[in-house]
Symmetry: C2
């Protein structure tokens, strides 16, 4: 299994530094963020990736279909732009977050319908551009503000109802590790796993947004998870994505080195 590095693991670097350092440390695949690519310039990013022969495992992130304060057609336009960016970058997948509850709403059912209708509307465009959309269930602690899609089974239910070779899921260890249905859901997902992301979870989760640990430092059984996605047929890069105020306060060179050192043995153990 190949390691990919998500740029939010070392966000203090600009794209120039991030790509150069990944290249220098032997990383061949990266996960990029739209805002950062836009700031850096899409064509310039594409040229640098090409020159360094770096693959893009994911482009993060589009979706947010429940943003009630935005015109749905503006959400759709921005999502089409994300598809265009993913196509230009040759990203293996464009990560979709469902979005949280619309402002002032308590209706999860309605919000989940908005997500599904939004994906249904975006999908033909993604198919035409040959971009794979990867719906990412997020940890239930982020249900209200980020994603009303919380479990892998729930994401797969959406994918089942919108069958397409261009629609799949993300399995992010932090978001799904606790799920008693996880192992069955990974098997159910099979070839529809478009992205696997790893980080770790502390014993006591004080900050659901930025309280993650480097892979191997926490309670998640990552070898079992990586073994399960491999058994389901996943052969692409495993992305290290660590939102962590603790790690972000350290020197990015050290974080990058530690992330690689701690993740590689897990990938080997699972292979």
């Amino acid at each position: 299994m190949m390691l990919s590095m998500n740029q939010m693991t070392v966000p203090s670097w600009g794209l120039d530094d991030f790509l150069a350092r990944c290249d220098q440390t032997g990383i061949r695949s990266v996960g990029l963020w739209r805002e950062r690519v836009q700031d850096h310039g899409l064509e310039r990013t594409v040229a640098q990736l090409h020159s360094l022969r770096l693959d893009v495992s994911t482009l993060c992130r589009a979706g947010f279909f429940t943003a009630s304060d935005a015109d749905p057609s503006i959400v759709e336009l921005d999502n089409r732009r994300a598809v265009d960016e993913a196509a230009a970058l040759g990203a293996s997948a464009l990560v979709l977050l469902g979005g949280g509850l619309p402002t002032g709403s308590r209706n999860l059912t309605a919000a989940r319908t908005l997500v599904e209708r939004g994906i249904e509307q975006l999908l033909p465009y993604a198919e035409r551009r040959d971009v794979r959309l990867a719906l990412e269930p997020l940890h239930p602690a982020l249900c209200a503000d980020r994603s009303v899609i919380s479990t892998l089974d729930q994401a797969l239910d959406v994918v089942d109802r919108l069958p397409s070779a261009h629609l799949g899921v993300v399995v992010d260890a932090f978001h799904v590790w606790w799920d008693p249905q996880l192992w069955d859901a990974i098997e159910r997902a099979g070839p529809r796993i478009f992205s696997v992301q790893v980080s770790d979870h502390p014993v006591v989760l004080r900050d659901p947004l930025h309280g993650r640990l480097l892979p191997g430092a926490g309670v998640i059984d990552l070898p079992r998870l990586l073994g399960a996605v491999a058994a389901a047929g996943y052969r692409e890069a495993v992305e290290v994505e660590v939102f962590s105020t603790e790690q972000w306060a350290r020197a990015p060179d050290r974080v990058l080195a530690d992330a690689i050192d701690q993740t590689q043995p897990l990938l080997q153990e699972a292979s």
Copy 2:
């Protein structure tokens, strides 16, 4: 639907003040905590409850079957003591938390087996004392440190495998509100719902342990949830349990008054 007040909503009061204030504000049912009852004296608490004609909706809390640093027989002894206390208090249910991952373990499957074996071992004693055990699924953010039982369906699976009129579940809105299977699970639970607890969830959850809101102040569709448990046959008290550093910093009289004022309309709406 009748309101019950859990003492951890206003933890700055000792039991004397808590019981007196509940009585004065027309509350007829309370949720109590073991440590506080033990400190106050069990017999003294029983006498005061009797004198004020207050019911006990729940005694919190026993279980913690995964505590690997404790001798299992000590865990069992403490849980039997909890059953004795619940019997003495006439509590409608004794709340069981499964416990988190044993120290140093990443094996959720093994931990969940420990929980089930622990309940199986405790159940005959609870039956003899006629104490109802209520297994409480906790929010996935608390999986590692508090409860490897995260969803209502998962708790019901355990209850299914250990059929007894003395084993059921707690439906705590904060812990389960996000679950896409919630409505089906409540229907499935039916008469096995032994306790219903309410609080609310902010849009952004900064503190999974103590970041709750008063009922009605957040994103949870509490009228729908209360309607669902009523439809499942639940007729007992609905307990207000708000772990909130924000509320705990306020005068307890105000918190009690606000909790009642905000919860009563929700109970009426659901009736």
